[in-house]
Symmetry: C2
Subunit: 546 residues, 2 copies
């Protein structure tokens, strides 16, 4: 994707209109270090130093193994080895204790936050094998955890006790692609970035982008209803997924792999598996509608004096950039200050502003897009909605500007730890949560510059275009006093404002107990009905979700 | 929506490039009569002369009333009158035979094709009333038919026997609109066009457009997963609907009226109601994400020498027009010839072509859009993908060009009747069905110019951008010989090519028995499981769907 912005002519035009005195619209001058760029490509992925996480059973001592589940035996293991044939398809620490180390990457999440006691990993190579595995597990009351790239943030893809991991990485082929319609059918275990590269060669794009794209599986994306960076433009997976192939616990293959955009023949059952986090079945194949890849991309970064102005800027961007707007990201003063404090790079804008926004456009004609972006910036600066701004001149600068946004999760954890909340809030009230949380922490005397205070800073940022806020409380150490101030306050605040306690990360084990803040008892009851319908023995990804 | 195309400069440029000798790109010269324009606004809606349809029970003599259902009594009627209070909320032909005439519009579909024996119409004014009605009906085994604008094409919204009609027209208010995010919450009984006008004033658009928009309800659109004209651009309702409020047969209110674009907290149950055709509950409220309304619209109409070229043109349109492409419609030679034969207007293109396409663009900048369209047309003409074309100069001409596409359903029925198939087929094979059907009809000696032949013509047209074909067989009279040649041939053909026997019209009573051509027994079994879960007494819209 070539980045061809038109900063020079824009600057000239801005000089002529006399706006530059107030609005220093200049080419971005951020030094692009390896570290910053790495933050772009790794996004949520900050390295974790410790070797192994605590066992999840230690973190959640109240959790007891469901007595309905059987203990894995040698006979079970032999059955699976016979079934899957290949030695690469089974990692067995039940009968072979030397395999314990090999099994650890499947037991732990990438954040080293959750760790299970699994002793058997199965890697089926076909939908039929998945079906046979599940049928056997269901008949024998063996609990399982479906696992994709294991890149989730809520502990949904690793076991708690000794559930069998069914890892989908061997099912990783593109099954079908139609270059005229853009319909793609792919195995669930295909890696998102590999698939996106395949599509790029054909002039198409996967309608989802994530920091974890180098590791995450398409099947996992669908199972967690991943949101990510392209949602504003390409909508949710509930709209773009055309069909699914999945296996129910009893081995039934849900054969709904339609390649059609329109198919009104009965209940759209595939939708239940999108976002079900592997609790009612395992997705084995995905059919998805892929849009045309944009030829041109532009990024602008600007400062604003209030959240009210950020809302005005968003409204204008939607109106004026309309069909080419592909991202509208918000960052508060504290977020940018913390990235600055940790990385020390020159900031895109010299002065400090209460709020910053990053706008990305992508379209089929770079001249048109630049002209639209230029006119938009002139307009919002003329109306004093935006105080100051820069536009990236090339792909390196695009990455550098994104690094200020994408660096925030990493620097939030830099001082020792971070309390993270990924929430949806109606746009009007979106930022109020940050103000209110900061005020509470201040009132409790927990925030300060020296070591005696646990809290370093309170940050608010996120996908404003999707009403998705990330509230991060950066701390020097985890402290019960901070937790007490934040919880259940944050969840109660979300409930009061009709928000969602998990916008895009899902429930897993981390958010399971908070669902009541976003869903009524009646809705939770209806969800449990669905769970019981498809998984009456409860073997699918137990101890998590609803 | 202002129509501002740039035909004059484009013609000049084409003259300079020397393309005009072959490609007569000229302003459209279609006379715009009242009739043609009417066809645009009424779309699928051709008037039907007969007073009343045959009873559905006569057309389907094998259908027997489900013995589980109770007979309506005076006591039931009294209960509903007490419950709803207002006399406007109950039409009672059970105890008052003079109301029989008033009830007829609720008993019959607009095509006068299906007619029930209903004697009681209830018009609840609130979700609580819907809940109380359904609970009572469920407890007393009274079957019901939820009814929106009654504009469906498969008999899904009228009763078969004496089911109670629950008409949603009194619940028609906009509940909420956020001008920054574009989130709209509306009662299910609001009329689509009324809602779209409301949105137009705010600079937004409803992400769905239909011929029936002047009558159809938003709730009915969602219940039938309506596709329509904007799907190519704005995607399906499964993506744009943010939340639903619905009532289950036992009176449970499904309170899932989220206003958020991202909410990953449990199974997305609302999806089951989208396209369920009122068989598991009644939708009472809809929350939906509305896009920015486009400022500019352009329409081009061109002739091509083969379906292969039409596919190439679509591929180029997706690539070059990308984010502004809002419709790509296909019409074959026979379709346009029949519109010409019936209406006698001057055709947009003088010569006859085997295929025609209509392209619509909509975007935020009319100059940019015109430039893109112009470059696209130059390119496809230069590459000899398109043989000839015209571009609309103003809104009147846009409507006139659309009238050639939108007039096809009407003229198909002009000679006495029409066999209609609304199907999805993978794009590559889309048109083969029309060739194959025509060949079969020809071989059977059924197609000819004189009265002895039942078939006037075989037409293929539709939303090519969505792989949605309409196969119409225009006949002088309905004839068992024609039916025998067409069925099950068409359905078997669709099944063989992995298409859908109902792309956007749904199943209703008309397609119920054909679902097996698009769904496996296993999928149908899973669907029945859902039906039984939510509606164990089977009272919701019986005799239809799966």
């Amino acid at each position: 994707m070539a980045a061809r912005s038109r900063v020079a002519p824009m600057l000239r035009r801005l000089e002529r209109t006399g706006l530059t005195a107030r609005c220093r619209l200049s080419p971005v001058q951020v030094p692009v270090s390896g570290r910053c760029i790495a933050a772009v490509s790794s996004r949520h992925f900050t390295a974790c130093p410790q070797r192994n996480a605590k066992f999840t059973t230690e973190m959640y001592p109240d959790l007891k193994k469901d007595p309905r589940f059987a203990q894995l035996t040698e006979e079970h293991v032999k059955h699976f080895k016979d079934l899957l044939g290949s030695s690469a398809a089974v990692i067995d620490a039940v009968t072979d204790s030397s395999a314990s180390e090999d099994i650890e990457p499947f037991n732990e999440d990438w954040m080293k936050k959750y760790r299970g006691h699994c002793k058997l990993v199965l890697k089926p190579g076909s939908t039929e094998e998945v079906s046979k595995i599940l049928k056997y597990c269901n008949d024998n009351k063996l609990a399982v955890v479906p696992q994709g790239g294991n890149t989730g943030l809520v502990g949904g893809s690793v076991p708690v006790f000794d559930e069998i991991v069914i890892n989908m990485s061997r099912m990783n082929q593109v099954r079908f692609f139609d270059e005229v319609s853009g319909t793609l059918v792919v195995d669930a275990g295909a890696i998102l970035e590999v698939v996106d590269h395949f599509l790029a060669e054909k002039g198409y794009i996967f309608p989802l982008d994530l920091g974890a794209k180098g590791s995450c599986h398409v099947g996992g994306n669908v199972a967690t209803n991943a949101g990510g960076l392209r949602l504003l433009r390409y909508g949710s997976l509930h709209g773009s997924v055309l069909g699914l192939e999945a296996v129910l616990p009893d081995g039934t293959i849900v054969d709904d792999l339609s390649r059609l955009r329109k198919n009104n023949t009965g209940y759209d059952l595939k939708q239940l598996f999108i976002g079900a986090e592997g609790t009612i079945g395992i997705i084995t194949g995905v059919s998805i509608n892929c849009p045309q890849r944009s030829q041109a991309m532009n990024v602008a970064f600007f400062g604003l004096e209030s959240y009210e102005k950020a809302q005005q800027a968003f409204r204008e961007a939607k109106s004026q950039l309309s069909e080419i707007l592909s991202a509208f990201e918000l960052m508060d003063r504290n977020s940018i200050a913390l990235v600055d404090r940790v990385h020390g790079h020159k900031k895109p804008l010299e002065d400090e502003h209460p709020f910053y926004c990053l706008i990305e456009t992508s379209g089929s004609n770079s001249e048109h897009d630049s002209e639209k972006l230029e006119a938009f910036l002139e307009d919002v600066m003329g109306k004093e909605i935006v105080t100051d701004g820069v536009v990236a001149q090339d792909e390196t600068q695009i990455k550098a500007l994104w690094a200020w946004r994408e660096g925030i999760p990493e620097v939030s954890a830099h001082f020792g730890g971070v309390y993270k909340y990924d929430v949806s809030i109606p746009l009007k009230q979106l930022y109020e949560l940050v103000d209110d949380a900061r005020a509470r922490i201040n009132e409790a005397g927990l925030l300060g510059d020296t070591d005696e205070y646990p809290v370093v800073d309170v940050l608010g940022y996120g996908h404003m275009g999707d009403s998705n806020l990330h509230l991060n409380v950066a701390v020097r150490r985890y402290d019960a006093k901070v937790e007490k101030v934040l919880e259940p306050f944050v969840y109660e605040w979300i409930a009061k404002h009709q928000g969602s306690i998990s916008a895009e990360h899902g429930l897993g084990i981390a958010k399971k107990k908070y669902i009541g803040y976003s869903r009524t008892d009646s809705m939770i009851g209806l969800m449990k009905q669905i769970k019981n319908l498809y998984d009456p023995n409860g073997i699918m990804n137990p101890y998590k979700y609803i």
